[in-house]
Symmetry: C2
Subunit: 145 residues, 2 copies
DNA sequence: GTATTACCTAAACCTGACTTTAGGTCAAGC
DNA sequence: GCTTGACCTAAAGTCAGGTTTAGGTAATAC
């Protein structure tokens, strides 16, 4: 059993955030002793999961739902799986979008590199899209598809 | 020259957003005729760039800076390039993080699939991490590295 | 016995990116 | 001449995800 301060230390989070998570219902099984929160293994595991789910772009209210399902037991396995499947699909399309944006950035970096080296803006624009060098062509095409 | 309504139509944005962008200084060259905004090619191009920069996770105030540099002319080429380089690096690490989160989701999907098929939670946990099947091992390792 | 420290609460505040509201101008159509 | 619709403004509201503030309790340290 750990106090809120110890958990904050372990996870590198402010105690205010842990209290906020608790208030949002992210620790449905959290116990207290004379008012003081007692974080156990269940809560530490929950926090690890929360870190992941946040990285996966999930909102607090969906994370709460998931935690409630976990507290409910095995009957919620299918719901939990469906939530992850949905997130996975969402995440894959997010990553695809970000890769397009990244290709745009690569193109812009190359473009300004040419300008910095004294190439003329009008001449450079005339190269686009057909006369682009191989190194940048794919990025350009992905970014503008 | 286009009115705000026409531009809103073209880009699928509400006029309120265009006015907001203007107020935030995203169109430093925007002209007006008796109070009414006149969007020209410069502004349409700016909007295309804004769409990209937003996808790349840039904040309004940084986009404004970029637009101001564009209005200032070629002397700002190096600054603009530096901004894109910095964004590119940032974006690459974001994508790497998201791929880790995605691997976690893949693992969770597999895990709940096993549970749904009646496998026992304790038995399943005993497999982790060394007895995991090949298909899921890499995802697990990436997600927990 | 008092100062510090860790804990608690409710409620106000913050940021970013918009959106909504309330009120006003002006040209075109009927 | 009056209604409609497109434009304008400033200011307030919204949402998520926290953070900060103000005030209170309880154990430990000196």
């Amino acid at each position: 059993m750990y106090t809120i301060g110890q958990v904050a230390e372990m996870f590198g989070l402010p105690t205010s955030t842990l209290r906020y998570y608790d208030k949002q219902g992210l620790f449905p099984e959290l116990k207290r002793a004379s008012g003081i929160r007692q974080f156990g293994d269940t809560e530490l595991e929950a926090l690890r999961v929360i870190e992941c789910l946040k990285k996966a772009g999930m909102e607090i209210k969906d994370i709460r739902l998931f935690m409630e399902w976990c507290a409910e037991g095995p009957s919620t396995y299918p719901k939990r799986k469906a939530m992850f499947e949905e997130r996975k699909v969402h995440m894959e399309s997010e990553i695809a979008n970000m890769n397009r944006a990244l290709d745009m950035l690569k193109f812009k970096c190359w473009y300004y590199e040419q300008l910095n080296q004294g190439n003329d803006e009008a001449e450079l624009k005339a190269l686009i899209p057909d006369g682009l060098p191989e190194e940048i062509k794919e990025a350009y095409e992905n970014a503008h598809a």
